[in-house]
């Protein structure tokens, strides 16, 4: 089973884009873009890429990732399968957010459905039924009876008390990543340090960026910021997060970070740059795991992390080209998206 998964991951890893591939996509003339995409394993994007709106482009990229995940989870069972299934569920949580926002603004079901990401075999929600709910209350009621009840219920309570869409999204995100952490726990002991490093890089990055945004962009009080973060068992445990949330400036937070985060973020001046550096560091870690003899599930997870990063880069290039942006700006967009070649 693991030999099959390892072979599959190695085959997929061979398809990951190299810097030269991005250059080829950037340098290709309009007629050559389809060829570059097809040659580099993204034929679905090659058809009509130029005329697509950003939403349908995103849907194709997600469909690509879902197809690959489907292949990878085929030989898996138990905790490993649960983990990757739940990881893919983040796209469905994103659909839930779209549905909730649509209901807030009274959007019609057909328009709402067209904006949702098709989940294929991974879909656990009846999107038709949810899109045809009358209002947020009915939508929440149906969601609370579904597979994401544990994520939706706290978010619903928070929204009922605050009526703040931002806090609703924050509660859904926190619920999802805490669920992911729970599912990762049994794998960390079984799959060892490599898996823990991947999860640590992911959760620490999200927690730190959320902390900085909530504290300094949105000006939330420390206690609320801490509440909105995930309970983490990696480099930034609860006590550390409490201490950081209580600090008053970005510089003070960065200065108080433990190693290796402190060293990694030396000289950073803004939150976007914090995200980019941590993103690149996580990608580097994923690349090491992918090309090592780590357990198959670690390599599969590393591949999926890298693949999604890569697909976002391709999207940035295609959108940049579609908007006739100069190459330098496209590169900057890739960098800002945390998915650039660095």
């Amino acid at each position: 089973m693991h030999a099959y998964l390892n072979t599959r991951v190695s085959l997929f890893a061979g398809r990951l884009w190299q810097p030269a591939d991005y250059d080829a996509l950037l340098d290709a003339d309009e007629a050559g873009v389809a060829g570059v995409l097809t040659d580099r394993g993204l034929p679905q994007l090659a058809t009509g890429f130029a005329g697509r709106d950003s939403r349908s482009l995103e849907q194709i990229l997600i469909a690509q990732l879902i197809n690959e995940t489907n292949v990878l989870i085929r030989p898996l069972s138990g905790d490993q399968r649960n983990f990757l299934l739940f990881w893919t569920g983040r796209f469905e949580i994103s659909n839930v957010k779209t549905l909730l926002r649509g209901k807030m603004t009274g959007e019609r079901p057909a328009a709402l459905l067209s904006r949702l990401t098709p989940m294929g075999a991974f879909g656990r929600l009846d999107m038709q039924e949810l899109a045809h709910t009358e209002d947020m209350n009915e939508l929440f009621r149906r969601l609370e009876a579904g597979p994401y009840a544990s994520i939706v219920r706290p978010a619903q309570r928070a929204f009922a008390e605050t009526h703040d869409p931002f806090l609703l999204d924050a509660a859904l995100d926190r619920g999802f990543y805490e669920g992911l952490e729970q599912r990762a726990l049994p794998l960390e002991s079984a799959a060892g340090a490599s898996f823990r490093r991947l999860m640590g890089a992911l959760i620490d990055r999200i927690n730190l960026v959320w902390l900085l945004r909530y504290r300094f962009n949105y000006g939330l009080p420390p206690a609320q910021v801490y509440y909105l973060l995930m309970a983490s068992r990696y480099s930034l445990p609860a006590s550390q997060l409490r201490r950081l949330a209580a600090l008053d400036t970005l510089e003070a937070v960065l200065e108080a970070l433990p190693e290796p985060l402190h060293g990694l973020l030396q000289g950073v001046t803004g939150i976007a740059e914090v995200y980019n550096r941590l993103e690149r560091s996580a990608a580097e870690e994923a690349r090491k795991v992918l090309h090592s003899g780590s357990p198959a599930i670690s390599r599969a997870f590393a591949y999926l992390l890298l693949r999604w990063r890569e697909l976002r880069s391709v999207r940035a290039v295609l959108r940049g080209r579609h908007l006739d942006l100069p190459t330098a700006k496209i590169l900057l967009a890739m960098y800002d998206a945390g998915a650039g070649r660095a």
Binding site: E134, Q224, Y227
Partner: protein
């Protein structure tokens, strides 16, 4: 019964304003399967808005029907016309309003239930606070240094909330738990109270309003609670009345709405695939049976009086992959249809194997599990479970009877081989003969599957494959020749040379075909054609030998019974018969299950895989749900 009914492709052109009525006529017609083959010039989808509105209206109607406990389909009046988009939009607005009222009434009931829970919690709080001997009036005063909140929070949020509150100098102390809600007191410095308000809201904190009475005297508080309960009970009654009134107010309108929604269903469903148009023209395309063309023309004429245009085109064999399959089965055969459908749907024009499947499956089951007693038990069990199993029970009943028939032929009853004499032969005493018969049956079965495959390929226009491929005429020639040669070597026939020649010719033809078909360099071509030709031979013979399991299982059946008798023979009378009874139960459950699966496996892998593509499209007609 053996293949899908011949279909014709239709394109019905009508005015866009009459598209809904045209779809309704097609739905009444009963055998129209929508499919997209309108001309490219008709690039618009004139029914898109209609479908969107219908989906909303249908969803709302279903919810309202659920609220009003209606589950039967609506009664459609004779000659009713389909609603226009305008009608449907008006209905949708009415449904929206009706559903909002129902949901509001439902929410009212939910609020009452919440209030009752809240009062229960308040009563418990009162009892607990009495024991604490706390002066609530002092504790909750608004000008004190301490800010105090009393309320509830989801149990899962409590730990994190406590940690977060401690950052603002606040403490949380729980005093009760009801379901997943924890009741707690939160206290901290008043000057930082604003800071934690957002946090509490984020954590889903629900403040418990402490009435002034509760802050004064316990007796007064109790009286207040009794009064509150009375008030809530009155409100509950009022809410029930509102709900009943809402239901009765909308009920008659809902009946009409259900009719309208049902009459709009045909166009809304056809819009997914078979409706295109341009300007004021709409075209509905799809498939109907060839023999029903005249009836459709009559129906259309009656409704549109010549104001329509109908294009009819026969289904072409090269379109078989995209043409739906409409097969009619007699009622007695329908229980077997799901077993064939679980493998796949016959492609249009392909041989439908349901009838031979039913006979062969029963034959194989009976041959492997031949016992009068065991078959009788299966018949009785399937009959008793008829209500629960539905039509599937007929398979059990038929299999049981065939098992009894083979039990008579084998002379076997509950494993006893010496109670009745076999009409035909006893597997235990004639194992070689039974094995030979199984292999001969296998040869006949595989020959039949090859013939069906040749017919299917010829129908779909793949003549070269039908003649020269390993599953075609060349493969069949090789198989018959090789079987004849082996029979000659075994002394079963004296004819030798014609069989060798036939086998060689067949194999050479297959090899040449594979070589021609393989698009690669000479080396790879030779290798591929050699391996695939070799595989032709090994596969056919491996599949033939697979049928030896039929004999093996009939012997196994006897062997299992012998094992039970051997165990029982060493016991006293009670133990003896108990062991035999339990042993028979084990044989029926365990071996019966295995044989049922093995028979299915033989049908799927040695049979269907040879000729049945199973990638057909089901013929799903446009229909109305009418109570009549």
């Amino acid at each position: 019964m053996f293949r899908a009914e011949p279909l014709v492709k239709i394109r019905l052109h009508v005015l866009a304003s009459e598209a809904a009525d045209a779809a309704l006529v097609l739905a009444h017609f009963g055998v129209y399967c929508p499919a997209q083959h309108a001309p490219e010039e008709l690039s618009e989808n004139p029914a898109e808005a209609y479908r969107e509105t219908w989906l909303e209206a249908a969803s709302r109607t279903a919810k309202l029907a659920e609220h009003c406990s209606i589950s039967s389909p609506p009664n459609l009046p004779e000659g009713a016309e389909a609603p226009t988009l305008d009608d449907l939009e008006k209905l949708n607005d009415w449904l929206k309003e009706a559903l909002s009222c129902c949901l509001a009434a439902y929410a009212g009931e939910t609020r009452i239930a919440e209030e009752i829970t809240h009062l229960d919690a308040l009563q418990e709080t009162l009892a607990k606070l009495e024991h604490l001997n706390v002066d609530l009036a002092y504790l909750l005063r608004s000008d004190g240094l301490l800010a105090v909140n009393i309320g509830s929070v989801p149990a899962g949020s409590l730990k994190r909330l406590g940690e977060a509150l401690s950052m603002a100098g606040f403490l949380v102390s729980t005093f009760d738990t009801v379901a997943d809600q924890v009741y707690a007191v939160v206290a901290g410095p008043r000057e930082r109270h604003e800071e934690v308000r957002g946090l509490l809201a984020q954590a889903g904190w629900r403040e418990m309003p402490i009435p002034p009475e509760l802050r004064t005297h316990p007796q007064a508080a109790r009286e207040w609670l009794i009064e509150e309960r009375k008030r809530v009970a009155e409100r509950s009654q009022a809410e029930c009345l509102i709900l009943d009134e809402t239901r009765s107010r909308y009920r008659s309108g809902l009946d009409e709405a259900r009719q309208v929604v049902e009459l709009a269903r045909p166009l809304a469903e056809a819009a997914l695939l078979g409706v295109r148009g341009r300007g004021t023209l709409a075209s509905l395309s799809g498939w109907i049976p060839r023999r029903r063309v005249a009836k459709l023309k009559t129906d259309l004429e009656a409704r549109f009086h010549g104001h329509y245009w109908l294009d009819i085109e026969p289904a072409k064999s090269e379109e078989a992959a995209t043409t739906p399959s409409l097969v009619h089965y007699p009622a007695w055969l329908t229980p077997f249809v799901p077993l064939v459908r679980s493998y796949g749907i016959p492609r249009y024009g392909e041989f439908d194997p349901t009838l031979p499947f039913a006979f062969t499956y029963l034959l194989l089951f009976g041959a492997m599990f031949g016992d009068i007693g065991h078959g009788g038990v299966i018949v009785i069990l399937a009959t008793l479970l008829y209500k629960r199993l539905g039509k599937v029970a007929w398979i059990g009943i038929a299999a049981g009877f065939v098992s009894m028939l083979f039990g008579l032929l084998y002379g076997s009853i509950f494993g006893f081989e010496d109670v009745i004499a076999p009409i035909w032969l006893s597997p235990l005493h004639n194992p070689t003969q039974v094995l030979s018969i199984a292999v001969i049956f296998g040869v006949g079965f595989i020959t039949l599957t090859l013939l069906v495959n040749i017919r299917n390929r010829l129908f779909s226009g793949r003549v070269n494959e039908a003649l020269f491929d390993s599953g075609g005429l060349a493969g069949l020639a090789f198989y018959i020749g090789a079987v004849g040669s082996i029979a000659n070597l075994a002394g079963a026939t004296t004819i030798a040379a014609p069989f060798w020649i036939l086998a060689s010719a067949g194999l050479v033809a297959v090899a040449i075909f594979k070589w021609v078909e393989t698009k690669a360099g000479p080396g790879e071509r030779t290798l591929v054609s050699a391996i695939e030709t070799l595989e032709t031979g090994t596969n056919l013979f491996a599949n033939t030998l697979s049928f030896m399991r039929v004999a093996a299982f009939s012997l196994n059946h006897v062997a299992l019974a012998l094992a039970v008798f051997a165990l029982a023979s060493g016991l006293d009378a009670v133990g003896h018969w108990l062991t035999i009874a339990l042993g028979n139960v084990v044989i029926i459950v365990l071996e019966g299950g295995i044989v049922a699966i093995q028979a299915l496996r033989l049908m799927y892998y040695e049979g269907f895989s040879r000729f049945f593509s199973g990638d057909g499209i089901p013929f799903v007609p446009l229909k109305l749900m009418d109570a009549k």
